[in-house]
């Protein structure tokens, strides 16, 4: 991989966004984080639509960190949509959310999430989680080959 792996962070909460970015910084895993605020924008970015038109859609994120509770279109909708498009069907999605509700977990997996991680309240734990995530998804995990 030539380019720095992109992490797409779909998160509406500014604080959480800040904290997540900070956590990744501390994880010492090289990455480039793209932040979108809601589900619609996430899909727009992924598919190069609307304000993100013109983006090279062959370049897909190494991993998508997806919160479930999002305005306009929530996480599960986003998941469903991006799994249906060939370009994004195999992009690893980690559902990163506060909810531990079983229904959410089950639904996420059914819709094709690769992983489900609960956001801990304690920041240190959060950092730990992010580090592990980073190490795994950015370094260890093999991406599906991209075929146009």
């Amino acid at each position: 991989m030539q380019t720095t792996p992109i992490i797409l962070l779909v998160e509406d909460n500014a604080d959480d966004e800040l904290l997540t970015v900070r956590a990744f910084k501390k994880s010492n895993v090289a990455n480039q984080i793209v932040v979108v605020r809601d589900g619609v924008e996430a899909l727009d970015w992924l598919f190069g639509r609307e304000e993100h038109a013109g983006r090279d859609t062959t370049v897909q994120p190494q991993v998508i960190l997806l919160d479930l509770k999002l305005p306009r279109m929530d996480g599960t909708e986003v998941l469903k949509n991006l799994r249906q498009d060939r370009r994004t069907a195999h992009v690893p999605v980690v559902v990163l959310t506060s909810s531990k509700e079983e229904e959410d977990v089950l639904k996420s997996y059914e819709l094709g999430a690769n992983s489900y991680v609960r956001k801990p309240v304690e920041f240190e734990k959060f950092v730990e989680a992010v580090k592990s995530l980073g190490v795994y998804w950015l370094l260890l995990n093999e991406r599906a080959p991209i075929r146009a």
């Binding site: 604080d15 800040l18 900070r22 509770k69 509700e101 956001k119 309240v121 304690e122 920041f123």
Partner: protein, 608 residues
Amino acid sequence: MANDSPPLPESDEARTPRRAQPSRRSPTAAVLVAVSLLFASEYLGYRATSEQRDAARAVAHSHEVIEQLDGLLVSVLDAETARRGYALTGDEKLLAPTRTAAARATRGIEDLRVLASDNPKQGGRIDDLDRKIHARLAELDEAIVERRKGFDAAREEKATHEGTALMLGTRALIDEMVAEERSLLARREQETRASIEQTRNIQAFGTLVSLGLFLLGVLGLRREIRRREEMEVSLREQETELHRANTFLDSLIDNIPDMIFVKEAKDLSFVLFNRAGEQLVGIPREEMLGKSDVDFFPPEEAEAFVAKDRETLAGKEVVDIPAEPLTTAEGVRWLHTKKVPMLDEDGEPAFLLGISADITERRLAEVELREAHDRAERANRELEAFSYSVAHDLRAPLRSIDGFAQAILEDNGKDLDAAGHEHLGRVRAAAQRMAELIDALLALARTTRADILRSTVDLSSLAQEAGEALRGDRYPKTRLLVATDLVAEADPRLLRILLDNLLSNAFKFSQNADAPLVEVGAVSPADAEEGAIVFFVRDNGIGFDLENAKKLFGAFQRYHKGAEYEGTGIGLATAERIVSRHGGRIWAESAPGKGSTFFFVLERGGES
């Protein structure tokens, strides 16, 4: 209450044939025999009397004969005397008796012949006598003729001698005859006496026997009468019993709080209607008897009733109608009716019995219940949605609080003094605590929702998993001992939460012991309650005083001061809620410094 309902069709008892009549023959026979004997002896008496009469007549007869004979003798003697007199005196006037004598003698003999006609022996003698007497009389006549010629003493003497001899002969004959008669008489008397004796004996015997039989007959009849009386009494008692039983039955039917009615099978007219039915329908039963459904209820209702009636009678089986409407004076009521065919001895339907319970209230209650259930469901769902968003939304700011406090510490920590550090530390701790509270509350709320799905759960592995997760790095010293092969019928999620709560407490409060030990196991079968397994979670920690722990399982109740041991105070409330959802029990045993054991039972089937 007036017994105006017609009697139910005859019960089996009434139709049993009467017991056979005990024999009346013996006393009657005795009486008959007695009467016969009486008649017999009467007859004998009658015959004896006849015989006696005959005998008396014979005696009289004999006496007559004797008299006659005597008379005859006298006649002859008269004649004799007259002749002698004439012979001596020659007086013609003295001859008068001789003339009459002959006539008298002849008449006498004839009479005698008649009298003695029954006795041939006497008959012979009579002839003899006849001859002698007539000879004598002839001689006398001769003698008279001779005298007339003149008196001859010698001839007179000879005549007298002849006369005397003849007289003697005659007299002898007559004596013979008299003797004969006398002996006859004696014999007759003897016979009569014997006969009388016999008769009297027979009569006495007969009378005694007949009296005896009569007495027997009377006794027998008396016994019979007494028996009849007793039968009458018992019959009357039976009647009273029957009447009482009938009255009781009628009262029973009338007092049953459900409507009971009976219809004729032929035309479905009412023959019985109990008080409850009267009150339900609002029509006095006198008006209902003899009429049928069509006379009282709207056509569609009546049609439905009739259809079910016919179904019952045709099928000859009980028909259950869970709910049917009935228009009464107070509006429509709903009934749960059972219709029962009553068959006669040939198995053909004779009557239809109906029993109706008024379920109007119950129906209304059911409708209300369903509505309440729906409302509760809706409320539950709303609560679920609410708690879900609460959890999610509440946690996010906490994360910010903790995260940015940490950021300050990391980025600007060197600019902060010790106090500053401490403050930030408390901020973070508070945020952490709040997160725990939220989690605990969510868990508690989750346990009260519906859908407790029981399955066979390997409690041993669940406990091991939970225990290890909880021990983690926080309680490195603590030993965890989970018994093997623990199995429970429970909802696995809730069971996990239960174990989490109990184990978390166990670890927490035993962490300061010298050799902290947390155990999970089950009580040995001997101590177990019937059928249910008693599990326990035990620690050798600081324990608590049971006396002061009344509200141990209440939410937010904390036994230890917050500073010593952190905790939300919700854990045990949640545990209690889970256990009772499973229909079980949870209790604790502990003493200060002696550790604690929490026991719980889950199996009781069904939820609370």
